[in-house]
């Protein structure tokens, strides 16, 4: 995990500002193209990506592969939760304190990465540990099982 793609204690006022913050980090490393952030925001407004996992909510903003150079993802841990809408019920607002901004270039060849990410979303305990982590190295070691 690239430590520069982890943002701790982010003070974001809304979903747009956390997507911007994480998107800029991806852009700085050239993982995504200049068009990526606007495309993610556009998609989020039409087809939101909040996942309600019962006792925990996470958001996984992303967009089409044409805006991506190299597959990767950034993690944002928010100081105060912001609202994202639900993927399954787009009118429903969820309070999100943990965001995974995903950049996927070629899904067919990224089965390992996608499967690993899915394992994270299905593991509420792990996400709570990430949410409560105090430094980036802790997060990195929690996620060392991810296959790229």
């Amino acid at each position: 995990m690239d430590l520069d793609l982890i943002a701790l204690d982010v003070e974001a006022k809304d979903s747009e500002s956390i997507i911007n913050e994480l998107g800029q980090r991806m852009l700085a490393k050239n993982y995504v193209k200049d068009s990526y952030i606007a495309a993610v925001l556009e998609r989020e407004s039409k087809l939101p990506t909040g996942l309600d996992l019962g006792e925990f909510c996470v958001a996984i903003p992303h967009t089409n592969s044409e805006h991506v150079n190299v597959s990767n993802f950034a993690i944002g841990i928010l100081k105060n939760p912001v609202e994202f809408c639900s993927m399954s019920e787009p009118m429903k607002k969820l309070n999100i304190g943990l965001v995974f901004l995903l950049a996927v270039k070629d899904p067919a060849s990224q089965v390992g990465l996608l499967g690993s990410l899915m394992k994270i979303f299905q593991n509420v305990e792990l996400m709570k540990q990430i949410r409560n982590a105090k430094d980036k190295e802790d997060i990195k070691s929690l996620l060392n099982f991810i296959e790229y």
Binding site: R43, K46, L47, T49, L51, D52, L53, G54, I60, H62, T63, N64, S65, M87, S88, P90, L102, V104, P107, A108, Q110, V111, L114, G115, L117, M118, F121, Q122
Partner: protein
Amino acid sequence: MKQVNILSVCGSGTVTSSMVAGKLKEVLGDKGIKVSTTEARPTEALNLAQSGRFDFITYTSPLQAGDYGIPTINAFACLTGMGEEEFFEETLRVIGEIKR
């Protein structure tokens, strides 16, 4: 060996549809079912469904209204793991009803 063709739909036609497709291949493959998947966006789903190439649809983003002509299964449970067992029960029931 039984073979099924699944149309996996999500918002961008890439990320969550591929996650669901991977899970379907894994779980159904273990049951001896050969799975072929195509990932698509909601706007492409109706045309693809009416092409006759697919046995059923799984979706993580709401599908647009229309006559899909094949069963549609909400795969949100498969994505989050909550209710995943019921999702696969429904999927297996739909597969059992496929006539060919």
